[in-house]
């Protein structure tokens, strides 16, 4: 009961408290609400931020790994590219060296061959000497020929003269014109007169000719056309002019002699390309004193690789047949007896061994270690 009475006394206080509490709560509700909101928002924000930073962290990890992967791939690519470029530079440098040597060799041998040019000049000098000598000889020969002909003609003339003036020969009584008594020797004409037979003077040239049968063109013989004594020569026969609408002669002449004006395409000959190639070839021919062309592998037949005889070699080991012996020997069939000593074998084998051994280059291949199984089977065979 007492509690009830206390409680009833408290009711007013409780109501007051209730009201004041509610009033305080009401008054502070706003503030507290805001505070709560603030706390919540901070917390939520913190949560989200924590989540975001977690996400960032993870994303960073992923990106890091990815970028690393990509960068390494790219690096590998760049390394490959740089390596490739380095190799190519090296190849370029080396090929420049090769080309340098090759071009120097080629030019010195086939284009500007100093020795060929020198040989050409020497040959030219020799040829010039030859030609000069030949020309001198020939002109000498011709001069002698001409002199000979002139002398012969002189002789002939003098002989004819002597024949015709034979009457000037000196007689015993009276010395001739050419045999003057005051001179020690008679003149050469006198000697010629003595040598030649006399020829009496012949008739005049006209009669001579007609006697020989040549008809002399006389003034009247050309009137071959029988004409009356006072007749005029006939007038010319007129040529018929062609009738029709023909052009003037001057026009035809001008048209006929009009120069050709071809277009560029027509002007270019069909063999223009070949001509250009010919021209280039001629240029090369002219500029080179060396006529030999460079022919790759032209000495291939001289540098033949040694070909092994198939019966005396195999890829595995040297075959003694053909090198060390030529006869097949089967010691098993001898059954313990000694093999027959042939007189030739002692002599021949030594020679044969040296003549038919393979060249040294292949020896080291021959002397490779042999498979035991193979050697065993092989030795049983021999």
């Amino acid at each position: 009961m007492a509690r009830l009475v206390k409680l009833q006394n408290e009711i007013e206080r409780i109501k007051e408290k209730y009201f004041t509490r509610n009033r305080f709560a009401e008054e502070n509700r706003q503030r507290e609400n805001e505070a709560a909101i603030k706390i919540q928002s901070w917390f939520r924000g913190w949560q989200v931020r924590a989540y975001l930073s977690h996400l960032h962290w993870k994303a960073t990890i992923i990106q890091k790994i990815w970028r690393g992967f990509r960068a390494r791939a790219r690096f590998r690519q760049t390394v490959k590219a740089v390596y490739f470029i380095m190799k190519m530079n090296f190849y370029h440098k080396m090929s420049v060296r090769i080309q340098r040597r090759w071009r120097g060799y080629y030019v010195r041998k086939y284009v500007h061959n100093y020795y060929a040019r020198r040989r050409y000049m020497e040959g030219l000098i020799r040829k010039n000497e030859e030609i000069r000598r030949d020309l001198v000889d020939f002109s000498e020969f011709q001069r002698r020929e001409r002199e000979q002909i002139a002398m012969d003609r002189e002789e002939q003339k003098k002989t004819v003269q002597a024949q015709r003036m034979h009457f000037l020969l000196s007689t015993k009584q009276c010395p001739g014109v050419f045999n003057s008594p005051f001179k020690p020797e008679p003149d050469e004409m006198e000697l010629r007169l003595r040598r030649t037979k006399p020829q009496p003077p012949t008739a005049s040239p006209r009669e001579r000719d007609s006697r020989l049968g040549n008809r002399i063109p006389s003034t009247h013989s050309s009137a071959s056309i029988a004409r009356a004594h006072g007749a005029q020569p006939l007038p010319p026969i007129p040529i018929k002019k062609p009738q029709g609408p023909f052009r003037e002669a001057a026009e035809v002449w001008a048209q006929r002699h009009r120069s050709l004006e071809p277009s560029l395409r027509v002007q270019t000959s069909i063999t223009d390309l070949e001509e250009a190639q010919d021209q280039l070839r001629l240029e090369e021919w002219r500029n080179r004193t060396v006529d030999t062309l460079f022919q790759p592998f032209s000495k291939a037949h001289q540098n033949r690789r040694y070909e092994r005889m198939i019966h005396t070699s195999s890829s595995f080991q040297p075959v003694p047949y053909g090198n060390k012996h030529f006869r097949e020997e089967r010691p098993d069939n001898l059954l313990g007896k000694k093999p027959l000593q042939r007189a030739s074998s002692r002599l021949c084998n030594t020679h044969l061994r040296t003549a038919y051994t393979l060249p040294r280059t292949h020896q080291h291949i021959m002397e490779m270690p042999m498979w035991p199984a193979w050697s065993a089977s092989h030795s049983t065979k021999t």
């Binding site: 030219l124 040829k127 010039n128 020309l135 020939f138 003034t219 050309s222 005029q232 002219r286 500029n287």
Partner: protein
């Protein structure tokens, strides 16, 4: 009067006419009578005698007319104006061979003086008549007709074309094959006159097969024939490479070289002309000529002959050397340079000197070796003298300057360049000093020689505009020497030394 007396009158008249015509023909052979004859009016008297009944009078009057027209172009014009040509042309077709010869002679005499007269001959139909006479049997008629055609074709291309269009060329080629030497000569000369004007005409001559027959006559003993043959071949080959190659393919080398020793001067000249026309086209043809020893033969020829006939030989050497440096070296090796130097000093005519100078330029312009060979023959001072001489013609001066420049640009032989330092004008001096400035930095012996021979002194004395190329070269030469030597040789050094004496205070 009896019949005999009547006939005697006619006989007398005929005798008088014959005598007149024969005397006039004889008088017309001497040039001093022709003036008198012309003044006496011989043309108008001879003209009716051409139509005389008696053939001898016709022939002799034609002969007299021909001789008169031959002498002088006024008389030839008078022949044309007197309308004599149509009658002659008509009778060329009709009459006998003596008249044909005389008529062809008249046509030739008229046509030879000038193109207008030759055109007049062509206009009255002379060409067809002459071509018909070329088909005659008598060699004298053919000769006269061929001669007339040759003289007509000589003047210009139109007339030659007219002669070709009349169909003369195949007949002329047939004439060349005849046995008579005189006919061959005239036919060859006519072909040469036709072919000389243009490549088409030369091609026409070649198409008729002339080259083979001409080349067969190269070794004929008759000198005048050889002259004409070589002249014809050179006129054919001068136009183009193809024609020259066709001439060469007729295998004229090396038999042509033999004719370079012919006693006749004009044969030799025509041979060298032919060789020049062949070598001027391409290096291959020059190479062919060089390989057969043609250069040596021409050089010997230059040594033996004198005067204007040397010109084709000199030009041939120039053309050969111009094509390439191998060929120029071949000319040098065949001892061409001393011979050309002799030609340069012996000849007095400017055009021959100009050709020699040009040939030197072509030989020496290729490489230092060539320039050295040219300079070693002491040619450079001569070239300079020709360039500086006021008496030399302009052409010679221009050629000398070009040759000098082209040789100097390659010359590294300093002893030959030194004389040029003293006399050259500034435009040549520039090149000389340039060559020195190129060589001196690398050769110590040459530097020493340069100083001792007085070249450095001369170089210091050269006045050049500051900043010009010449000054640069002089500076580069001065840089080859130590300061003191350059100062020692600079002009006015003795004065500066003496001034130092004035300023010096003895201790």
């Amino acid at each position: 009067m009896s019949q005999r007396q009547v006939l005697q009158v006619f006989e007398q008249y005929q005798k008088a006419r014959t005598q007149f015509v024969q005397t006039v023909a004889e008088l017309a052979t001497r040039p001093q009578n022709i003036e008198t004859l012309q003044n006496a009016g011989v043309m108008s008297l001879l003209r009716p005698l051409l139509l005389d009944i008696v053939p001898t009078i016709q022939q002799t009057s034609a002969l007299a007319l021909g001789r008169l027209a031959n002498y002088n172009d006024d008389l030839a014009e008078a022949v044309v104006k007197g309308d004599i040509l149509p009658q002659l042309v008509y009778s060329l077709a009709e009459q006998n061979r003596f008249y044909k010869k005389a008529a062809a002679f008249v046509l030739r005499a008229v046509a030879k003086h000038s193109p207008t007269l030759a055109q007049a001959v062509v206009d009255c139909g002379g060409l067809d008549a002459l071509v018909i006479s070329l088909e005659e049997f008598d060699p004298g008629v053919k000769e006269a007709a061929a001669w007339a055609l040759g003289y007509i074709a000589r003047h210009n291309g139109h007339l030659s074309q007219a002669v070709v269009d009349a169909g003369a060329v195949p007949l002329l080629v047939l004439c060349i094959q005849e046995p008579e030497v005189a006919l061959k000569r005239i036919a060859a000369s006519a072909l040469s006159d036709i072919a000389k004007h243009s490549p088409e005409l030369a091609q026409t001559v070649v198409d008729a097969g002339a080259i083979a027959h001409l080349s067969q006559m190269i070794l004929n003993p008759d000198a005048k024939l050889k002259r004409q043959v070589f002249s014809a071949l050179s006129q054919i080959s001068k136009h183009s490479v193809d024609l020259a190659e066709m001439v060469v393919e007729a295998e004229i080398f090396p038999s042509i070289l033999v004719c370079l020793r012919d006693p006749d001067e004009y044969v030799r000249k025509n041979v060298t002309t032919l060789m020049r026309e062949i070598t001027k086209h391409t290096p291959e043809l020059s190479q062919l000529v060089v390989n057969t020893g043609g250069v040596a033969a021409v050089i010997d020829y230059l040594g033996e002959c004198q005067g204007g006939v040397r010109l084709p030989g000199i030009m041939m050497l120039g053309y050969v050397a111009a094509h390439s440096e191998n060929l120029a070296m071949a000319v040098i090796v065949s001892k061409g340079v001393p011979q050309l130097a002799i030609c340069l000093s012996e000849e007095s005519e400017d055009h021959i000197k100009a050709a020699t100078v040009w040939a030197f330029g072509q030989i020496g312009r290729h490489t230092p070796e060539h320039a050295r060979a040219v300079a070693a023959a002491h040619v450079l001072p001569k070239l300079l003298a020709l360039y500086m001489d006021p008496d030399s013609s302009e052409d010679l001066q221009i050629k000398a300057k070009k040759a000098l420049k082209s040789i100097l640009q390659k010359c590294t032989h300093l002893p030959a360049l030194e004389p040029l330092l003293y006399e050259a004008p500034s435009n040549i001096l520039k090149h000389v000093v340039y060559q020195f400035s190129k060589v001196l930095p690398h050769d110590s012996k040459a530097r020493r020689l340069f100083v001792t021979s007085g070249g450095l002194k001369k170089v210091q004395e050269i006045k050049a505009d500051v900043g010009s190329a010449l000054q640069e070269y002089i500076n580069s030469i001065n840089n080859c020497y130590p300061e003191e030597i350059v100062r020692y040789y600079s002009p006015g050094y003795s004065e500066t030394l003496l001034e130092r004496i004035d300023k010096y205070q003895p201790v």
